[in-house]
Amino acid sequence: MLIRSRKPTDPLPSAITPRKHYLDRRRFMVATAAAAATTGTVGAVGVAVPKARARPAQRFDPFTLSPLSTDESPTDYDAVTTYNNFYELGTDKGDPARNADKLKTRPWAVVVDGLVQRPATIAIEDLLTRFDLEERIYRLRCVEAWSMVIPWVGFPLAALLDRVEPLGHARFVAFETLLDPDRLPGQRRPILEWPYVEGLRLDEAHHPLTILAVGLYGDVLPGQNGAPVRLVVPWKYGFKSIKSIVRISLTEHMPPTSWNRSAPDEYGFYANVNPTVDHPRWSQRRERRIGEFFRRDTLMFNGYADEVAHLYAGMDLATWY
């Protein structure tokens, strides 16, 4: 892939890059992919065009490209879909892609309950059609000190929360992955306590950067990336962005989270990307952007500090890691 030397110190590149540029680039990418697909060649051009064979159909076209996107080059589609941590489909990075066909995503519904005015069970078809989908190109930083840039398709979690109307004393949102060892065979072994659970504070859940993703690179989400619907919280380590969600519950108390339960001294509830708070396994000071040789410095809140730092004002982030 294209290696950029420019540092990603741009929490909001759209502030300096006109929106039209994005749309032009997007159109160009689509056009190049189409051309490559018909001629069977790889688009060897100066923008981040992944290998033509890997470029999926633009099933979600047209949708708007969010101004919250970064203008960094997206990581190769191949890498995004073959290097995954999704233990329910296997613990090797390549396992999820190999086992993804086991994860049947129909029928599928997401239960939204707990402290809400109007609890609901939302069929995946409704989830895909009742919300305004946008492309969000986000940095993703894994706690294992690697990172990617991923063009998600999704909508703000806040849009869903607004529909169910959280009650006044709701303070947290709990998420749950499907529990079904037939479709998620990794659950046959107790590597973690299944199902995988995650949580956010309500204000984090409401933040405009927090999305539910249903697509990737313009296509539906592949199984290995958490089909059919997953959370994406770009300023937190990747494990917070829970995959294949079947339940979203509003709660008053801080919900348990899987990795925190597994190793509380290593993984906290907040798990904000923070180069100054060390992890016993990996230095968080730097990261390897997949596709690049040299490590680059990790940015506070994964480069989204301007947008989210205020959420944690007054908190000691070394204590609340």
Binding site: T82, K93, W146, P280, W282, R288
Partner: protein, 242 residues
Amino acid sequence: MVLTARHDVRGRRRAGLDWGVRRVAKPVVFLACLAPLAWLGWLAMAGGLGANPIEAVVRDLGSWALRFLLLSLAITPARQALNLPVLMRFRRMLGLFAFFYASLHVLAYVGLDQFFDWTAVWEDIVKRAYIAVGLGAFIVLLPLAITSTKAMIKRLGGRRWQRLHTLVYPAAALAAVHYVMMVKADLREPLLYAGILALLLGWRLVARVRRVRRGPAHQAWPGSSARTSVKPPETAVATRGR
């Protein structure tokens, strides 16, 4: 004379075996030991190492270091179980290949993963226990590699050399622990290696207990009365095993 003729046949057979080991088996095994490296090189050139090739290289080399270490430790039990003394002649090569892959593993970590950022390497050693343990394993392996030559065996004397080389046990244990500690949650593979190591070490423990039970008389070398004062002949290094 019948007797001499038989003697000649045996001698010739032994010489033939020796030739076969030196000229055929050893080179073949040597090349086989290089195959994992060749395969890794091929994958690297062909872009077959996946999305994170540096991680793949570091891990593959680490895995092979541990595998060769276990293989070298399997020689003595295999020789005795299969009654194949000739296996002993491959032990040093396997041990040195373990060290070779461990060196490449460390080099890949320092040169590719950290790109000679010595501050980061130092931080990793102090802050991340699994790295410190890996370094421990490597440091323990170093003197074994250095003293692996015939001249060194002579210089140290069989018994001292042998005692020094019992360090291979803690080295292997540290390497296995290094792997276990590195893994986040799915311990199956590192525990498989640790289990194999436990079997290989357990076998030695049982063998030793049996030797002790059989009593000192059986341990003494022919022609000596006091067990502690004898020095085994040089060849004993090759046959007694460690």
